[in-house]
Amino acid sequence: MDDLLREFVTETNESLDVVDVELVRFEQEPSNAKILDHIFRLVHTIKGTCGFLNLPRLEALAHAAETVMGKFRSGATPSTQAVSLILATIDRIKDILAALERERREPDGDDADLITSLVTVLDTIDGQPAAPTASVADYAIGTLVPQVLERPLRPGEVSLDELERVFQETPVDPILARAHATPVKEKEDDGVRPGVQSLRVPLETLEQLMTTVSELVLTRNQLLEIVRRQEDSEFKVPLQRLSNVTAQLQEGVMKTRMQPIGNAWQKLPRIVRDLSAELGKQIDLEMHGAETELDRQVLDLIKDPLTHMVRNSADHGLETPAERRAAGKPEHGLIRLSAYQEGGQIVIEIADDGRGLNTERIKAKAVSQGLASAAEVGKLSETQIHKFIFAPGFSTATEVTSVSGRGVGMDVVGNNIDQIGGTIDVRSIAGEGVSFIIKIPLTLAIVSALIVEAGGERFAIPQLSVSELVKLRSDGEQRIEYIKDTAVLRLRDRLLPVAKLTTLLGLDTSGALNSGFIVVIEFDSQCFGIVVDSVFHTEEVVVKPMSSKLRNIAMFSGNTILGDGAVIMIIDPNGVVQSIGATVATQLAAAAVAAKDQPSTAAQAATSLLLFRAGSSQQKAVPLSLITRLEEIDTQTIELSNGRHMVQYRGHLMPLVGLDNSVRVKGEGTQPLLVFSDGSRSMALLVDEIVDIVEEHLDIEPASASPGVLGSAIIKGQATEIIDVGHFVPEAFADWFRGAGRPASAAKPSVLLVDDSPFYRNMLMPVLQAAGYEVTAVARATEALDLIDKGRTFNAVVTDIEMPEMDGFAFAEHLRADERTAALPVVALSAVVTADFVERGRVAGFDDYVAKFDRPGLIAALKEQIGMSAAA
């Protein structure tokens, strides 16, 4: 009996949710008989089962509601009052069900009030005066023994025969049964299709399965870690299979946890309907993408915030019909919910076409609450001001309404979304409406994380928020600079606030910011850098909730066990954003002394390399510092234009180049790319697989005949081809150089390389090293002159022509004017090689002139010049 009862409660609850939604639809479309039949059938089933299980209160209520609906079916116009009453009845049934679930018996109580009202409504419909009290008593069944079949029909009741007939006649519409909450969406792809069997599985079973799979993933990771350290292990192949099977299993189990977001939206039509009535506003609710699937754990957590936001939109966002008319808008306000998947995230938008956020009021409130000073607020953009609504305790509604002014504000919503590692953004246009954009991870359980080290401890950073890695160098471009005490990094066209992870975590306060890596994090439309000592690999980690003793630490979102068995904390980018603002200003004062640019002698330093595979199975590498980003794109987005493969990337078309000159695009799925940028230009190299990031002393052995390969080096015990990115640039665009110049760098063993473009510096350095030169690179001609002033000597100088401050011509003139360097061979590099330029260069004092892409030419020229100067 217990099982039966539980089943009944579950099923009835589901049915009632459907009834809720359908009734609201019915009210809007009173002529739609299908909807009504559907509701009627559901309520009748509930009633019947109640009778069978001996639940007199439920039965009486269901019966009374059914009777009224029977009238609608026979053509009576549903009044708002009647629908409201039925909805109230359904609420009561739900209450009783909840109690039933708790106590395993129907709670005591009396429903005469509702039943009386229902009977009154019934009589109104019938055009008769309210029935005598006797009939009410008849209905107040609280104590009546159910006699479903053996009694005369009550007023308004439908005979069983008629019901049977109705059932027979009603076309079964399974799509409707499922699509109830989602009137807008396409109706073909869900619902219970005939032939698709489904099975109810207790939640705990799935949770248990998920935990087991999580453990399996961890164990798999451990095995992979062990095998990685062994050469030619016989386990490699079976482990690879195990790994694949585990991944499939993981995916399968994840799928069982997925639920359409429509489940979380199910109650909204009812809520919006009730709100319209309460607020005297006309509100349309549109729902798109209800079939978008989410992990049920995530779904549970966003259900309440979503409801809250819809309430907010209805209450604060939308204007009254009068106001809307005055503003020239349709009287009906619109709230639109949409959900879709984008990458590994689900995006949910809640938009209204109301009055928009009141920027001035938010400003005033932010100032009065001490969130910012009046002066600060004045400098903020509208978007930044709007973000204040997520601050704790912030609510702009001046009067507390019963709808949304219950002390929970957007801060609570923001908090809930943070908890699941999501972000929320707000866009508002005055007079046109507000939209909230929520981005949440597909699943909480397993994330891909970058493992880093700082202060002797390892930490995991969710890959989703990492946009790139920058190797810190004390020379040239990639170094920390200070604005007073605030550390920043020049990253292409923007200044990036940076902070040491150790400082953020309170592990130390000292130490210069001149080594290690910067993990560039993009989160919540903010971008910042965290300095870490080293970067290991990425790993799929199973996020485990933190102990309640640690949950107060905003910097961490969870913890996990790595492949090697160690426990590691997972950094919460959101917590970092919160604290970086506070910390950056204060803690970095001590570090300000550090990081004056010592041009590095690149030869000794270890180079970070990205290992990947493309084409052949041989491991390939490219210096990490050359790479702007690692991307994975959907192959569907690759376009063929003018015989070249292109992809839209950050608003531009980016050419794609393959290693063996012919682009080989994967047939389907995702395509990993290495993106190289210089200024606003980008190109991408197609690769098959990104293997690892390692830091190695780069000892390139030249001797490579194949184009695009600088040479080979032994990396992690494997012969690895070092890819010459420069080779691929002309393939991507012939006109790479027409952009504005940038600072340069020089070569050390005996070559000073001056180029303003870090890209070319980085590209040429290995080329020259491979050719047997020691290279010192600087970004500016003035830096080069400084070095020479300090007494450094070089066998040759290679310089760019177009550079800021001092161009190549002026630089050459300076060198020639100085007696120490008057005879120093100077080779000019330029994209433009015209007779004019060459002549001008000769006059300025260049010994040779080489086109930037002509690397063999450069090597030849250097050889010749150094040979000549040695002979002289």
Binding site: E215, L218, S548, K549, I553, T560, A566, V567, I568
Partner: protein
């Protein structure tokens, strides 16, 4: 009958020593006793959180009882031990200097905390057992973990 009465009034305690003081934990709450290894520090955590470790696939939060009860850092054991307990579905380890034997003691010999007991100890103690050689402070695990208040709330 007397025997069974006695049986009912007997409780078993796992005993442990921290800074010379003996403590008793109800045996029903103790999962295991282990040597803490490969501890991961947790920056920004409360001082009594010694770190996290992996115990057979579960993440265990190690609580330094010495710091929790403000015993000071003197005479720390060279090889501290951890007593594994579970509280509200989470795994904890209590870091102590040494783990002693399991004692079966008569509940009727439990005294209430003396009024002048250090409030930090009184907070976590449910009474004092008068052993022949020493006093045994009986510990409430939830209160020691600082979870009791929240559970009540």
């Amino acid at each position: 009958m007397t025997a069974s009465y006695d049986e009912q009034s007997m409780s078993e305690y796992v005993t442990a020593t921290v800074a010379g003081q003996r403590f008793g934990l109800p045996i029903g709450r103790v999962q295991d006793v282990f040597v803490p290894e490969r501890l991961t520090r947790v920056p920004l955590a409360a001082p009594e959180v010694a770190g996290l470790l992996n115990s057979r696939g579960r993440i265990v939060t190690l609580i330094d009882v010495r710091r929790r009860l403000a015993f000071g850092e003197n005479s720390r054991a060279e090889q501290p031990m951890a007593i594994g307990v579970e509280a509200r579905g989470e795994s904890y380890g209590l870091l102590v200097d040494a783990v002693g034997e399991v004692l079966k003691l008569d509940d009727r010999n439990i005294d209430v905390n003396p009024v002048n007991l250090d409030p930090r100890l009184a907070d976590v103690s449910v009474g004092i057992h008068r052993l022949d050689e020493q006093l045994l402070l009986l510990i409430d695990v939830d209160r020691l973990l600082g979870l009791a208040e929240k559970a009540a709330a």
